[in-house]
Amino acid sequence: MNRVRHMSALGLLFIVMLFELAAFALLSLRDGKFDVWALAFALALIALLFFQYVCLLWISRYADRFLLVIANLLAAIGMIVQYRLSPETAFRQLLLYGVGMVAMFVCVGLMHKPAVFRKLNWAMIVASLALLGVLLIVGKEQGGAKNWITIAGFSFQPSEFVKVALVFIAANYLTEQSGWRDWLPSAIFAILVCGLLVMERDLGAALLVAGTYLIIFYTATGDVRTTLIGLGAGCCGAVASYYIFDHVRARVAIWKNPWATYETSGYQIAQGLMAIASGGAWGLGLTQGLPKSIPAYNTDYIFAVICEEFGLIFGIAVITLYLMFIIRGALVALYARDRYLMLVAFGCTVLITLQSFIIIGGVIKLIPLTGITMPFVSHGGSSLIASMMLLGILEGIAMRNGDMLEDAMDQAMEQDRLANLSKGEDHAE
């Protein structure tokens, strides 16, 4: 009872809802006439978020509320921008958010038995490699990368799920600490996945997988030398791919000077930069910008749209939200009692934040642009569902931490009571 009280985040959630309601009220009056669908959309979203919060806390009061609120806020911003761009895709996104929510609850449930994932290790390795291998043959090319599979009318991006599997596989092998033989299979797996992703021209995912694996490796082993060797190998791989593949060279050339090829390949980055610049510190105001002039405006370049309409300060606040996500996720990892769960929690956190920084860095021309989605915000079913799965895994581990802490405290109290009893008997004698 009341030993570690967790702060209620319901008030915070109401403010998130207020934010949505304000934005959708503005959107509903867009064309000079009242759009009922915008308000209906807002109410549906609010109901969904509230349901999610209540259900998660009903499962366990130790769920991490702030991770959930951060994800909710990011998803809400995403859906506001989607609705402003095109209501149809926004409704699809809302549906996918519902599916992602189910996936999240499934992951929360699965984290009660994390041993299952350790047993399924080989299955996950084979499935990941098979999915990426099949992709090389039957993959559909979309936006320069061959990373889509269509099964029975639904198209999805296997790389999104492979990176979730990578976290579990890496954590499984890095849990043992006796020597290099333990982690070697996971390193080989990571290299294979990277190679396959580069061959599919999915450079963003390759960079993400390599970065995530190196960070998990360093946190698990604390081995600076091997990590630096890995980093060096990664750099060598990047340089090699620069010379081998045309599309990598093209990307770097665009990054160095997008204005030289403004008419053709540099158009996207240049438009994105101009959109951010025209937004200024406070933005042009929702619905007042021209986001549709940027290619991939609702997936990769959504950050530029946010900056244009909501302003740079808001953009920085979005980046800070991702930073808070790292902090909360790292706390969940720190308090995990089990090394395997600690690595899984940290891996999930790194995956989400690294992904957001790779795409935001690409949009603001800090690093070469690689096509990748912004977690929770971008339009895209696979990405949204994978992000929600990662969130569910983190929540599941947070719940386990809380239960374990409570058990430990109960045990300590029980021991106290026994000690007191025996002391009483001594006095009686």
Binding site: L12, F19, V69, G285, F314, A317, A412
Partner: protein, 154 residues
């Protein structure tokens, strides 16, 4: 005219959006820090046996080891209180036990009365010391700082 009013509204609303965003961020950071402190305190309690807690006298000594206090705890008859005592002599929201600068304090709420070691405190907010006997209505409890480690007791 309507279009002008609408664009003006969007211009005003962008400040609202930024304001809400920064407010949410500030709240998340503030709550994260306090939650971290409470968790840290719980872990320290487990490790070193140090915790501010209260121990009720009979017949309300139902919880073994007393109630460990967090940064602020509301005591009262209402089930919504952090520490809830089902006794008619206690008001629905009777008193607040809180920590400030490493010291524990108690503050009576509204017209509620409290006694510390048999005396009414001079001010509404009173400093608590180790072993103080606090009375709310008919209910009494001891304020304790240290949970004796098991090794010492055994």
């Amino acid at each position: 005219m309507a279009a002008n009013a609408y664009s003006l509204a969007t211009l005003v609303m962008r400040y609202v959006f930024v304001g809400i965003m920064i407010y949410i961020l500030a709240r998340i950071i503030y709550h994260s820090i306090s939650e971290y402190q409470e968790l840290h305190r719980a872990l320290r309690w487990l490790k070193d046996g140090y915790a501010r807690h209260i121990e009720f006298l009979p017949p309300y000594d139902t919880q073994e080891g007393g109630y460990v206090l967090v940064r602020s705890n509301l005591i009262g008859r209402s089930p919504r209180c952090d520490i809830y005592i089902d006794d008619r002599s206690v008001r629905r929201r009777h008193a607040l036990l809180f920590e400030k600068g490493g010291e524990g304090y108690i503050r009576a709420r509204g017209r509620a009365k409290i006694w510390i070691n048999g005396q009414r405190p001079q001010k509404r907010t009173a400093l608590l010391h180790e072993g103080d006997l606090v009375r709310l209505g008919q209910v009494e409890f001891h304020y304790k700082l240290k949970r004796t480690p098991w090794e010492e007791k055994a």
